[in-house]
């Protein structure tokens, strides 16, 4: 083989190697870009779960028809009065509901004799509002109540991983039998603080409906209740207005960021 042939061969070999290297480099760069593309997008939830649900755009019919309201007899006001019941929302209540018997006490006026638990498991709604915790207000402590509430949230999330849960805090009643006003206020404050902790731990929203219903003394307005606890027509209207204007629009808080 002549010297020039060798040079040509060598040059060709170099070109080939450089080409391969370039291709590999290209591949590496592509892989790197692909990796970067894969890992650079993140979903960030900027909602502050430590705060009560802020005021928002008024809920429309689409939102309401995708909502479920369930609770004790206080929730009955939404069934008996107002416009929410005609909005397509599911609304259920259990008179004298004890949170520990949510899966055995039948819902009021339900022909199929279902429990609130049954209905929570069966619903296809994505916004679930819960109003619990007043019939246990005479308990000495609320730790077991919160444990039971946690169980309910776990059951809901297992059945419906994509739902948004709203915990409606207890509003401060004017009276409850068996307790002085001072005792009642202290217990409501206690159970509400524990419900807030529960909401934060579980990334549930919570609604401080005292904002909608209470007077300057911090208890529910006298013209909003007929027995010191249960909402009359005026009270229901105030609550409904509050619920319609205080919701979380996920698109405002949950965003995907890609770097």
């Amino acid at each position: 083989m002549t010297c020039s042939s060798n040079k040509v061969l060598l040059a060709a070999a170099c070109l080939l190697v450089c080409g391969c290297a370039a291709k590999e480099e290209e591949k590496e760069v592509e892989a790197s870009v692909s990796q970067q593309a894969e890992y650079a997008c993140r979903i960030i939830d900027s909602y502050d779960y430590h705060q009560s649900v802020p005021q928002d755009r008024k809920a429309d019919s689409e939102y309401l028809s995708d909502s479920f309201f369930g609770g004790d007899s206080r929730m009955g006001a939404l069934v008996l009065n107002g416009e929410l019941k005609n909005s397509g929302a599911e609304i259920y209540y259990v008179t004298s509901l004890n949170i520990f018997r949510i899966d055995s006490m039948q819902v009021d006026n339900n022909e199929e004799e279902k429990t609130l638990y049954d209905l929570l498991m069966e619903t296809d709604k994505h916004h679930i509002y819960l109003m619990l915790g007043i019939n246990e207000i005479r308990y000495n402590t609320f730790d077991t109540l919160i444990e039971q509430y946690q169980w309910i949230i776990d059951e809901i999330r297992n059945a419906h991983p994509d739902v948004h849960i709203y915990i409606m805090l207890d509003y401060h009643p004017r009276s409850v039998s068996g307790l002085t006003l001072e005792e009642l206020n202290a217990k409501v404050d206690d159970v509400n603080s524990k419900m807030i902790d529960l909401a934060v731990r579980n990334k549930c929203y919570f609604l401080d409906i005292d904002e909608a219903l209470c007077d300057e003394t911090g208890i529910i307005r006298e013209d909003y209740v007929f027995d010191g606890l249960h909402l009359n027509v005026n009270g229901e209207a105030a609550l409904e207005e509050y619920l319609l204007s205080h919701k979380v629009s996920e698109e405002d808080y949950v965003k995907e960021f890609c770097e």
Partner: protein, 158 residues
Amino acid sequence: MLKNFVSSLLVICMLAGCGGSEKNSSVAEKKTQNATAVAADIVEDLNLKDSMEEVKKRVVKGMFFQGEDVTDNACVYFSTTSGNSDTVGVFISDDTASILDYLHDYLEEQKAQTQTYYPEEVFKISNAIVDENGSMVILVICNNIEEAKTKVTEVLGK
């Protein structure tokens, strides 16, 4: 004569042994008594079987004992009818005093609660039967108070 004496002696010994075993089995029975079986028996005898259902252990622990582990040998039946306060509860424990305290608080709470929603049930709760025998506490809330009292006394061996 000797044979008669020995035979008599043997009979006496056997009888004494039987008496001793009966006593032992009575104690053993108390120790192994199952609240579920006792409660079911009371519900059956008071003709409440068709209108009551047994509740889960966590309900008993939460509603009656504020979450404390007072006893794991307990069984409670509640009425299946909305607003009906009928209750049969059997709680087996050596610490019957604590159970009685918890039941007292439970009944007070139930009376206050029921006053708001089902005032016609307050009388029944106010006349609840709560009794114990040192190792078992029984709670019965029902309309037929006298029959329930008789049954509870019988079950407790009083």
